[in-house]
Symmetry: C2
Subunit: 213 residues, 2 copies
């Protein structure tokens, strides 16, 4: 049986989202600072940016590699798929183009009833109106011996964490203070119970902290 | 010229105070969990508990030793001295008994006008109605080449941090989620600017993170 995994980048004050996006700078400087060491890794540049042979190696890259390994299915929130910006649009197929970087089935938690979308490269998007527990059960069944990722957004991740359904939480803590946004840690008092905690600091300054069971 | 230093224990979600105190358990379980690795060090047991030769050595103890070294004066809030519980009481001399563990002058930020208190062992408590900047200037002058500690509480520490007056902030981050209390990080967006950040993880699981300039 696989594990249920969450991986996130958060600031030292716990924020997983940023607030300084503008039309001219749609990611924002804070996002660049928050995710910089991850985006700079060889794995991210190869797997996501299509730039083979470039990027950093070492601890941040080891975590980036692990992020992509062993996943057989994913669950994500409606917002992450883009349904908040594109409600009721039958032509919307997500942010990732015709060949999304998943390569496995993805369940999108939404109140919208939509047919499944079969994309190139093995990704199939399913749209589920069930409880987070029932959707996870479907994803686990599809993943078989592989792991299930709870991909995001932050509220979806927090809901699965609060429900005790996550087996491994890895956070890359970037030592910056954002002061506002969505906090990963909100309403998760006592989460550590039942987990082993391990942490180490990369030369980039990112503290990699893992709760696992 | 000495540095201005702040040392605090915080939870992974940033809380520096705990909320589960009861008359039967005046420290509370959360405080024990938050400060456990620090209280267990050889330095804390020798210096604060009077138990020489006992306690842990290693990274947590190295930080505990550094905490006590090189301080020539301290600034603290009225609450830390006990003036919120003992307002207007001329007989109140702080929590620490006749021989407090400071051994140097301590300025207490308060609206109360009180005469200075000369204690055993070199500690003198001064009560200051000035701005945080002016009080710090007095403490710096008294400390000479040694450092000044901003001792606490958390609101006093945050006020000095927000005003850009702290040269070194060391936080021992205990990997537990308290979910409530006073957050160290509140309203400190961008604090990292102008600081070098260094972190490392002790075998106890505590992440020692230091902002210095």
């Amino acid at each position: 049986m696989g594990k249920v995994r969450v991986d996130l980048n958060v600031s030292l004050d716990g924020y997983a989202t940023t607030t300084d996006q503008t039309p001219e700078d749609p990611f924002g400087q804070d996002w660049t600072r928050l995710t910089g060491p991850y985006v700079a890794t060889r794995t991210f540049r190869e797997r996501v940016l299509g730039q083979p042979g470039k990027g950093t190696t070492g601890m941040d890259d080891d975590y980036a590699k692990a992020y992509f390994e062993g996943i057989g299915a994913e669950v994500m929130g409606a917002g992450m798929f883009g349904l908040h910006e594109h409600p009721g649009d039958p032509d919307w197929q997500g942010w990732w183009g015709p060949n999304p970087p998943f390569g496995y089935p993805v369940w999108v938690l939404t109140h919208e009833v939509r047919p499944s979308l079969e994309m190139e490269g093995g990704t199939v998007f399913h749209f589920a109106q069930d409880s987070i527990e029932d959707v996870l059960a479907k994803a686990k069944e599809a993943a078989g011996d592989l792991d299930v990722r709870v991909g995001g957004g932050i509220r979806t991740a927090r809901a699965y964490l609060a429900a005790g359904l996550v087996d491994r939480l890895h956070v890359g803590i970037t030592p910056i203070l954002l002061g506002r946004g969505e906090s990963l840690w909100q309403d998760l008092r006592g989460l550590e119970a039942g987990y082993e905690v391990f942490s180490e600091t990369a030369p980039s300054g990112v503290v990699h902290l893992t709760f696992s069971r």
